[in-house]
């Protein structure tokens, strides 16, 4: 069993640092370095500082890395920069993780606590004096985007759900993620309805958190337990794909559990092989010519933002090609690197301003393209964009749901 602080858990990533030719491409694309001198950048903090780390911390500006993963994505030499930095940060913070980080990285717990008192929780989070108090006591910035608590979870809906038609294509396992369970319930419901509409039988086992927020806050031991438990829970109907509308959580299963936390359980790896982000899955059907084509036009122009964690899956931006199938809908790629939330980074009081600066170009693009409606695949990014722009920000599945006439049902 690996220790969280042991840099040996990342030997493969360490081996890649010798491939760094100091070309600076990662520095040109790092969204944090672009807006603050507080972070000395992926090249220094990553492959350069890593040479001097033997479990020791050599550059505390590492804490300002948002873990967006852009550096690893753009590196032409295959250096696992973000992975190195995530491990080093976990080592740096081990033993003194603030209560705040412990709290914001437990989405399920927050959801469970807020659901029974949803109206009250939402009122507290919308109340300026209480937010000021939360900032002073816990360290969550008073203006940071917060999820809206729902009175009913996705599971409440699922328990009473009956498909409106018989399946014609076989089964898929649905993974909703914790935000999809407690906060973005509508996205989860729409995803199930679309999958059933195109002919799948949806199977949805009880499931917990993937551990991604814990991982990005350096709490590797707990995150490993979470991702292993989730993989076991999803380990039903092992021959069929797992489909998820929580695009960032997909990244955890596809590669971060293994590449950052050294998890190599066969169950986790197998779940990582089977899981598909829903746009990725639907686009593969469209490319194979097996997606129903009777999409009604949507007379809208919207900005689309691909979340960092989705881009990190190395499959491009499937939602862009998928949404182009809807007649009259113009989807403009906002071409922003990051929205600035980076999971829980942008809610922390000492990083809030950086997160806002990172997201500024994206927010301006949304305001320019369509200040009412924007599209993005990950929940926390949607909350960030919505809070900054006032726009309604939806998952791509919402537009498909609408175009297939499922909104009226």
């Amino acid at each position: 069993m690996f220790e969280a602080a042991s840099y040996e858990s990342n030997l493969l990533a360490r081996a890649s640092l010798d491939s760094c030719v100091k070309c600076t491409i990662c520095e040109t694309q790092c969204p944090v370095m672009a807006v603050t001198p507080l972070f000395s950048g992926p090249k220094y903090v990553g492959p350069q500082a890593e040479r001097y780390r033997s479990g020791l911390t050599v550059d505390h500006s590492l804490d300002y890395c948002s873990s967006c993963g852009t550096c690893s994505l753009v590196c032409p030499q295959g250096v696992e920069i973000a992975e190195l930095n995530s491990v080093a940060r976990a080592a740096m913070k081990k033993g003194h993780t603030p209560l705040r980080d412990q709290l914001v990285s437990r989405t399920s717990l927050l959801g469970q606590m807020m659901k029974p008192v949803a109206p009250l929780a939402n009122a507290v989070l919308a109340n300026r004096p209480s937010r000021w108090l939360i900032e002073k006591t816990i360290g969550i910035h008073r203006n940071a985007a917060m999820p809206t608590a729902q009175r009913h979870s996705f599971s409440d809906w699922w328990r009473h759900h009956r498909p409106s038609k018989a399946p014609t294509r076989g089964k898929v396992v649905y993974f909703h993620g914790c935000a999809g369970q407690y906060f973005e319930v509508e996205t989860s419901i729409k995803t199930v309805e679309v999958l059933e509409f195109i002919g799948y039988e949806v199977v949805c086992p009880d499931q917990g958190c993937c551990g991604l927020p814990l991982q990005s806050n350096g709490l590797f031991d707990t995150a490993r337990k979470y991702v292993r438990r989730l993989a076991e829970q999803l380990n039903v109907e092992v021959e069929v794909p797992i489909i998820a509308s929580a695009s960032s959580c997909v990244t955890m299963l596809k590669h971060e559990a293994h590449d950052i936390m050294g998890v190599d359980d066969p169950t986790v790896l197998q779940a990582g092989q089977r899981i598909r982000e829903v746009s990725e899955f639907l686009l593969s059907l469209a490319d194979a010519g097996t997606l129903p084509g009777d999409l009604a036009p949507i007379h809208q122009t919207v900005a689309y933002h691909a979340p960092c964690q989705l881009k990190g899956q190395g499959m491009g931006k499937p939602a862009l090609a998928l949404l182009s199938l809807i007649p009259q809908l113009t989807v403009i790629d906002a071409e922003a690197t990051c929205c600035g939330i980076a999971g829980t980074y942008g809610v922390k009081k000492e990083k809030y301003a950086i997160g806002q600066a990172v997201g500024r170009e994206l927010f301006e693009a949304v305001e320019r393209i369509n200040p009412q409606l924007a599209v993005c695949d990950t929940e926390t990014c949607r909350w960030q964009i919505a809070a900054a722009t006032g726009a309604t920000v939806v998952h791509p599945i919402s537009l498909l749901h609408q175009a297939w006439g499922l909104d009226q049902d």
Binding site: T28, P76, M315
Partner: protein, 426 residues
């Protein structure tokens, strides 16, 4: 709709993808990381230097080429295996005109001759297509070279001293104390470009220049006058009433980033599916027909099928060509046959400054840029090999890399479009 996969997103890959997509193909561009444009000088070279007769490698007698179109026939005659010999002057000319038309905001139309643009060291580098900020006025007699204390990749006094010889001007260096942003003491040119995209920084820079420098015909600044647009350069020129030329620096290269950004946006606007961050690790094919490639994605390997393929993976610098521990050279993706291996010289010799034979190793192709084996048989009839993978060129001493990338990509894309046109849609 014809499906085409382009592998590699450097200048060659982007150019091929754009031309194919604009010609109606459904293009997927697969790239492992960004291509090399952000590392380059941001102008387009065609042919910068030729070696004196009898010398195959660079010497102190190398001649800067003034008129590359006049020099090209002789160069082609002297280099029969060179990509330029394969492609021919007409194609090369058409391809560069096409590129300049693609990027009207970033490249000046060619006047047919090489420009001499200053490097950070003050060398005058011959290149064909330049950005508007690179045009050196031939009538400039006095030059003010201006740098920043916080930009440690640029030494104005050194450049000024060298310019007195290389550009035959009187030149003086100035170092301004102007951080790109608060308190940062060591910034890259990119951070200065980000700052310059805001008009207030340009105003402060203009005021500081006015207060500091003696009158000069020309001001040289490090290449940082805008990434989003060249408006900062225009505004500074008009505020100061003096012509301004940008000198390109070591990476990160702001002019290179401009071209990369412009071409990537054009590709996406042309409908290219850009898939970044996964490595192509395998392929499938039957007979001489390639069927698809395997992408090593997060979680699993994914097969991408297509009808046609363009391979723009670059050379040794990007790992498309590799040398193993036995000194054997391989093309690492499709294992294509190479040429340039069998000479009487060792591939790598002990003389650091000689033109190492290994740099002329590349993939053997026919005139259509399809890969061929030593018998001249086509290996994959629906694959085209472009850019740095092509043999017999030493791109950095000839200053021919951009011209090879653009002309081979243009020729390959044109050929593939012709093969499928008129095409049967779906």
């Amino acid at each position: 709709m014809t499906d085409t996969i382009v592998v590699g997103a450097g200048l060659a890959g982007l150019a091929a993808a754009i031309r194919l997509a604009q010609g109606g193909h459904k293009v997927s561009l697969l790239t492992f990381g960004l291509g090399g444009l952000p590392l380059g000088q941001g102008s387009i070279d065609l042919l910068g230097y030729t070696h004196p007769a009898g010398s195959s490698h660079p010497t102190a007698d190398d001649q800067a080429v003034a008129d590359p179109w006049a020099a090209l026939p002789g160069f082609i005659a002297a280099h029969p295996g060179h990509p330029y010999a394969l492609l021919g002057t007409d194609t090369i000319k058409a391809s560069l005109a096409w590129l300049a038309e693609l990027l009207p905001d970033w490249l000046l139309p060619s006047d047919g001759v090489n420009h001499l643009v200053p490097t950070a060291l003050g060398a005058m580098r011959p290149t064909l297509l330049i950005q508007p900020t690179m045009s050196w006025p031939s009538d400039a007699k006095s030059v003010a070279v201006i740098g920043f204390q916080q930009l440690k990749d640029f030494f104005p006094e050194l450049m000024a001293k060298n310019l007195t010889q290389t550009a035959q001007v009187s030149a003086k260096g100035y170092l301004l104390d102007l951080p790109a942003r608060d308190q940062e003491v060591d910034s890259s040119a990119l951070r200065y470009a980000n700052a310059a995209d805001h008009p207030d920084f340009v105003s402060r820079l203009a005021a500081m220049i006015k207060a500091t420098i003696e009158p000069a015909d020309l001001i040289v600044l490090p290449a940082m006058l805008g990434l989003a647009s060249l408006d900062p350069w225009r505004s500074l020129e008009s505020t100061l009433g003096t012509r301004i030329v940008e000198a390109h620096l070591a990476p990160p290269s702001v002019p290179g980033l401009r071209l990369n950004q412009a071409l990537t946006r054009l590709a996406q606007a042309s409908g290219v599916r850009l898939i970044i961050g996964s490595k192509v690790i395998g392929y499938e094919g039957e007979g001489d027909c390639l069927r698809g490639v395997t992408l090593h994605q997060a979680g699993r390997d994914q097969f991408y099928g297509a009808d046609q393929f363009v391979y723009a993976g670059g050379s040794f610098e990007s790992g498309s060509l590799t040398v193993d521990s036995h000194g054997l050279v391989h093309e690492s993706l499709f294992h294509l046959p190479l040429v340039g291996l069998g000479g009487d010289r060792p591939l790598i010799d002990g003389d650091y400054w000689s033109d190492q034979a290994i740099f002329k190793v590349g993939v053997a192709t026919n005139a259509q840029l399809a890969p061929i084996n030593p018998d001249g048989q086509i290996v994959w009839s629906n694959l085209r090999v472009v850019g740095g993978l092509l043999p017999a060129a030493v791109r950095w001493t000839e200053k021919s890399g951009d011209g090879i990338a653009v002309s081979s990509a243009f020729a390959a894309a044109t050929d593939l479009l012709n093969q499928t046109s008129p095409k049967k849609d779906n």
